[in-house]
Symmetry: C2
Subunit: 101 residues, 2 copies
């Protein structure tokens, strides 16, 4: 047996085996929250849970959105709502946010 370092994201408690991935996840969640808030303010009447999902969808796929912003709108057909699997997930069976169905 041995000990190993884990990094946990404050926002949702998710754990990672390396700090870089944990930071990236934290930044993704921060972006998702900002997007959800911005949409809520400008397009009122959407349920809170759906706003969160939209925020995460866009934040997780921001690279595809960036390409779409530059004219490659077909990139948006490749969106993936699923959260990327990490080593920490595999090791610790952290509950993942699944696609809304």
């Amino acid at each position: 047996m041995a000990v190993k370092a884990l990094w946990q994201c404050d926002r949702d408690g998710k754990m990672f085996t390396n700090k870089k991935d944990a930071d990236a996840h934290d930044q993704m969640l921060e972006l998702a929250e900002s997007i959800a808030q911005a949409i809520e303010e400008n397009v009122p009447g959407i349920e809170s849970e759906k706003l969160d999902d939209i925020g995460r969808l866009i934040a997780r796929n921001k690279d595809l959105f960036s390409k779409a912003f530059k004219g490659k709108t077909a990139e948006l057909t490749k969106l993936d709502f699923a959260e990327p699997t990490t080593d920490a997930d595999a090791d610790n069976k952290v509950t993942k946010i699944n696609k809304v169905s």
Copy 2:
């Protein structure tokens, strides 16, 4: 009296006094439609009208979203849903899409 050239966007009939603005508007609407469709596929259950509004909100403010994607999430507090006024609007009293309230 004189004649002048106008460019009309097929998607919504909006008119412009110069082709560059008309093209930009058309591309914005194309992006908005792609975004609305992508969100609909991944976060089901949102009304069609709200999806359209979200698509336009993001497409119109894509530069602010791009900045937010690079870490400047505060940019998203500056979002503006209002459609930019153009010369053609002023001249022709084209009906504008107003902010949902």
